[in-house]
């Protein structure tokens, strides 16, 4: 295996690259987890809207029935 400009990849360099890649992967994972959590916080900020949704149980059921009937036709 060669490095850029056809330089030979020494074991030392390879180890260093593995270490850097692992650290980058950890950072990426942390960022991904953070983004997921941020999205969850954002979703909770819309709790009032979700509360409203809870109120429409019966109309949900009717809409669902209509949808199913339409599909079956």
């Amino acid at each position: 295996m060669t490095h850029d400009n056809n330089e030979p990849l020494t074991t030392k360099k390879l180890k260093k690259l593995i270490k850097q890649t692992k650290s980058t992967l950890n950072d990426l994972q942390e960022e991904l987890d953070k983004r997921k959590m941020d999205n969850q916080h954002l979703e909770i900020d819309h709790l009032e809207e979700h509360m409203g949704e809870v109120e429409h149980g019966f109309s949900n059921f009717i809409t669902f029935l209509k949808d199913v009937l339409k599909e079956k036709k």
């Binding site: 960022e31 916080h41 709790l47 509360m51 809870v54 149980g57």
Partner: protein, 405 residues
């Protein structure tokens, strides 16, 4: 791709990442008008709780008067525990409020309904209440993936409560562990000469005027069926009080619920269970808490595993209503009413502890919900069949079978 190119790509990708902002809980200062509104809403809630407690007393008095001390004979048909279970499922599924049904059951126990007959009814109420969030999940029908996630979030509660009944009802029929522990706790909590809940002796004189008022009205309407009318008044007032309390608390407590949920993010399942329990106590409705989880899971932002503990916490939090209702009763039946309320709490709390701590049991509701959601998203008729089948047809068939054998 060389290693340096790979490294450069990663760096580029990492550099592009925008650090998303943490959402913030609204901390707007309420205006004086809002403050006044919430003051009146809290006053209304206090009055509605008073009405709720009084109406439990009304049902107790009405049932006692109507059956003339022979309540157990009137409920002879429900001595079969499966019949009691079915009554609990059907009534709760119809009124879509386990708090209403458990409060009525507490009132009936005060009027002479035997505790052993009431226990399966309480368990049935736990199953019946799960219909609400399942129906809420049907609102996501337009988008297939979203519907699958929402339906799984709605039915995980159903599967959990079914499993809890499958475990605890046979145990209760054979050994009565929950009734015995609840009886012991109730006897220790209720004491004194007048057998009312310790420290809550003021409730009887406080509720007496309203109970007497409705008793007089009921007998004015018809002297022969006055006590039955009193029971109907009690049921209607419980239903109205719990519905209105729920509506007011939803508005007043949404901010607190947000804070609790924000704090629970990224924490473990125990925090989720505790958060679900506290939110349910705050809004006085497990259906509200479990239904709130449906859109959160439906959007895909929360995974089913993450909302599952909240649902379990809701099961524990909802038992507060029956405990509150039990404080309405004083006299010789006070121990029994508190016993049935404690049975409700113990059933739900031990079910959470047992099922959630054993991995195989814990995963059963998740697998069941995911399996059913997959089927329902492929064929929506499955969802309709499930709702009617599990909450109405299955109990009706059980009634039929119970009557034959």
């Amino acid at each position: 791709m060389t290693i340096l190119e790979y490294k450069a790509n990663i760096k580029q990708l990492f550099g592009k990442m925008s650090m998303s902002k943490m959402s913030q809980v609204s901390t707007d200062t309420p205006s004086s008008q809002n403050r006044l509104n919430s003051y009146f809403q809290w006053m209304a809630i206090a009055f509605l709780v008073y009405l709720l407690i009084s109406s439990v007393g009304m049902i107790g008095a009405g049932f006692k008067g109507a059956t003339k001390g022979h309540a157990s004979e009137l409920f002879q048909f429900a001595t079969n525990p499966f019949m009691g279970l079915i009554i609990g499922i059907l009534t709760t599924a119809m009124v879509q409020s386990s708090s209403t049904v458990t409060s009525i059951i507490v009132g009936l126990v005060a009027g002479g309904l035997p505790v052993e007959t009431a226990v399966p009814m309480i368990m049935g109420a736990n199953i019946g209440t799960t219909i609400t969030n399942t129906i809420v999940s049907l609102g996501h029908v337009r988008r297939k993936k979203e519907f699958r996630r929402a339906f799984a979030a709605g039915t995980v509660h159903d599967f959990f409560n079914f499993l809890a009944v499958v475990i605890f009802l046979p145990l209760e029929i054979v050994f009565q562990p929950l009734s015995k522990i609840a009886g012991f706790l109730a006897e220790n909590l209720v004491g004194g000469e007048n057998m009312s809940v310790k420290g809550l002796n003021f409730i009887k004189p406080a509720t007496k005027p309203i109970i007497n008022f409705f008793t007089d009205i009921s007998h004015l309407i018809s002297d022969s069926i006055g006590y039955f009318i009193l029971i109907i008044f009690g049921i209607l007032i419980i239903f109205m009080a719990i519905t209105l309390i729920g509506k007011f608390l939803k508005v007043l407590m949404v901010g607190r619920a947000k804070i609790i949920m924000h704090n629970a993010i990224g924490k473990g399942p125990v925090t989720g269970i505790l958060s679900g329990m506290i939110i349910t106590i705050l809004v006085q409705s497990s259906s509200t808490t479990t239904s709130l989880m449906v859109p959160l899971a439906g959007s895909g932002v929360f995974r089913l595993k993450q909302i599952y503990p909240f649902t379990l916490g809701a099961n524990i939090g909802t038992t507060i209503t029956a405990l509150l209702a039990a404080t309405a009763i004083s006299g010789p039946t006070a121990v029994l009413t508190l016993q049935i309320a404690v049975v409700h709490f113990l059933t739900n709390a031990t079910a959470v502890i047992l099922i959630y701590s054993v991995k195989i049991l814990r995963n059963l509701p998740l697998r069941g919900a995911l399996w059913l959601a997959r089927l329902a998203s492929e064929n929506k008729l499955v969802a309709i069949l499930y709702v009617f089948g599990a909450f109405f047809i299955f109990p009706a068939v059980l009634i039929f079978i119970t009557n034959i054998f």
